[in-house]
Symmetry: C2
Subunit: 431 residues, 2 copies
């Protein structure tokens, strides 16, 4: 659970206005009003049929590290962000409220109350930016990754997008991809922090470093054994495969093709490998793959996919668009005037209704003050996550989240897994 | 220059295969071959007319912190990523090579050699992932931000997108936005790390916390003075403005409108403010603005813009698509076979040709072995950035980069600043 960034404190990963709101509310006494804040997405990214909750455990860790040490206080004082009374309050800050929410790996839909924070205004408002940063990023990546995993239909996907996003976003993206079913990541820090299996062999640079392709293959096989993956598309692919099998023998683990029309090339490669007796040599394809490209490769003899850019950029939806809204003050529902935004005041929870077969029917988002009678096939969606500022015991792990999402995707109506643009897989109802 | 993340080491922000390539090359002796690696983008994001280099100074810092301490070595050993000989080599690693490149804030075009790394294969290859993560992220954000700054036509833009991206990407995004001309950021950590001015007042939560809008305005004005920005769109905007001026007086600093058709609302608000005698009260608009929305507001009385999601997601282009390619080994140009990718071997540099008026004409990317005769209006684009692994003295600062970009945008042909999709503003030529 150890923090790594910012010498242990996450407190300045925060918008200036959270602290000026705090200062004003401390002055007029409203800071101590009991409040409920809710995280939800008004809509799914354009045409998406479901979202995947991710980042919850990262957020709980980050809340534990949300402390204003001397360094933070000095910075705020020197830039006059807030007055001394507010600085004194911040120096003592730790979150002591309660948090409920959807499990990591759970599906969400428009209006799903993904996270509910109960605390004084002061304690809750300062967490807004951090909560949204973590959940918006990780959920966007996991939501895209789940579509890729579905498209891959059981074939493994290797996450290799770290170079296309911020160096620390890369680590979180690898985690979200693993949650959503990816097999491995290239990112070594994700391996260290989260125990995700890492993998990789060589890039074209290694091929070009050597005087000949054969020299490079020999060096790699000498070091990593014949069960490695040889990159065969640096010069001529047919020649590359011939050389690869000659150097490694028919027990060659895999070849990788990273350019060109990888579907056509995979088919030709399979034929050539078979003709060379390398029937068990696998074919890994990579190079600008997204969920649509993966789906298009289903009939081709590609055994594994490497995915980079499209994963870390959320495949067109790089943020989940979640908001953190004050919904209750002193037990009274509150909401901004709203013409076309769905703003509903009051503390809410949710359950998902299912057919007897287990297929999801609808997301019911209800006021906690008036819960519906749960039916036989309904599933309550809120878990306790923090009590009195402490994470609850036995929080679901990353592996739990991965397993949960796998089960939940099976519960979607079949149209819900279509990659084409459409409506949310199930409607959200507000009784 | 102090690192904050990962207890000071950036070494595991790296793809697994960089280290397996290293291991194989150490085994066969090719690791020590002198090499040149080049960072460039094959193309600009779809329809963009220029790119902005950003992240260089962040990268130089991160390279200084690229060390394999006990923690990294233990992790790599326990997961058997590489053998003991390679671990011994890594434990001693520090970069000792030379780096040249474009200044931060410089424009770039397809094929521009943004960064050139000269080192042994071993020393250079391990930096690939980190270099690309930093440059791809920061340049994507700065490139989008520059378009927004152009569209704003001198009106200030407030960066407020941190909640829509990974919590540390948010800090780098605020830096890139400032480089590209934004006035302030909401991100407090960006204020601490980079000295960027931060700002903010209140969110709707502060309004809803109070029993009435007037109570909220009074609390805010009592704390922050009349020169603050009051958020007037929580309930009814006309009523909100009336109350705001009544509470703060005509010396009210600004109002903010965060929803609805902000152009129409700004016009009506201006009339109302003027009629109330608040002629100097400014109007800040926010809410899903991008460069196109900003441009559309040019004729409206909006005095400042708040921009969030579109900034941190690169306004449709969240990554710059730069690659880090081995272009020279032992003095010989090398390049992958390529059908439609522009892969040119050999160490290169660049100059930009201009008309006598100062308008840019073309980007000339030439082999260092055969430099062209620079003309009177040509500008050489490579600066020394590192020598022997140490940053050169007097590196341009963030403020230098901000000033440079402002000058460079003026040098573009006028079509280059159009927001519509088009070709790169100037062609890249390879003599």
């Amino acid at each position: 659970m150890g923090p790594d960034e910012t010498h242990g404190s996450t407190a300045l990963l925060t918008d200036h206005y959270e602290l000026t709101m705090l200062a004003s509310s401390l002055s007029d006494g409203t800071a101590s009003r009991p409040c409920v804040f809710e995280v939800f997405a008004r809509r799914l990214p354009d045409g998406r049929r479901y979202g995947v909750v991710a980042g919850t455990n990262r957020l709980l860790d980050a809340i534990g590290d949300f402390r204003f040490t001397d360094r933070e206080i000095t910075q705020l004082a020197s830039t006059a962000v807030v007055d001394d009374a507010t600085l004194d309050w911040l120096a003592e800050y730790r979150f002591r409220g309660d948090i409920d929410g959807y499990a990591e790996g759970e599906l969400y839909f428009p209006g799903s109350p993904i996270l509910t924070v109960r605390a004084t205004f002061a304690e809750g408002v300062v967490l807004e930016t951090l909560a949204l940063s973590v959940l918006n990023h990780d959920s966007a990546i996991a939501s895209a990754a789940a579509r890729m995993s579905s498209a891959a239909h059981g074939r493994p996907i290797i996450e290799m997008g770290g170079r296309r996003t911020h160096e620390y976003a890369a680590v979180a993206a690898a985690r979200a991809a693993y949650l959503a079913g990816f097999a491995t990541t290239s990112n070594l820090e994700a391996g260290r922090r989260y125990g995700i299996p890492t993998g990789g062999t060589v890039a074209h640079a290694f091929m070009l470093l050597h005087d000949t392709e054969e020299d490079a293959f020999r060096a790699q096989v000498a070091k990593m054994g014949a069960d490695t993956t040889l990159l065969v598309d640096t010069y001529d692919i047919t020649q590359g495969i011939e050389t690869a099998v000659r150097v490694a023998g028919p027990e060659l683990g895999a070849i990788r093709i990273d350019s060109g029309d990888v579907g056509v090339l995979a088919r030709k490669a399979r034929e050539q490998l078979d003709s060379l007796g390398a029937r068990d040599t696998r074919i890994v394809v990579s190079g600008d793959l997204d969920e649509h490209a993966i789906a298009a490769l289903r009939a081709e003899p590609a055994d594994a996919y490497g995915v980079g850019t499209s994963l870390v950029t959320g495949s067109g939806a790089p943020t989940a668009g979640m908001v953190y809204k004050l919904v209750e003050v002193d037990g009274r529902p509150v909401a901004k005037r709203s013409e076309n935004k769905a703003s509903r005041g009051g503390q809410k929870a949710a359950l998902r209704r299912h057919k007897p077969t287990g297929t999801a029917l609808e997301e019911v988002v209800y006021p906690c003050a008036a819960p519906p009678e749960p039916g036989e096939y309904d599933r309550l969606l809120h878990l306790p996550l923090m009590r009195g500022g402490e994470p609850v015991e036995n929080l679901p792990t990353l592996d739990d989240a991965r397993a949960l999402l796998r089960r939940r995707l099976v519960s979607l109506p079949w149209e819900g897994l279509k990659l084409s643009r459409g409506e949310p897989a199930i409607p959200t109802v507000f009784p």
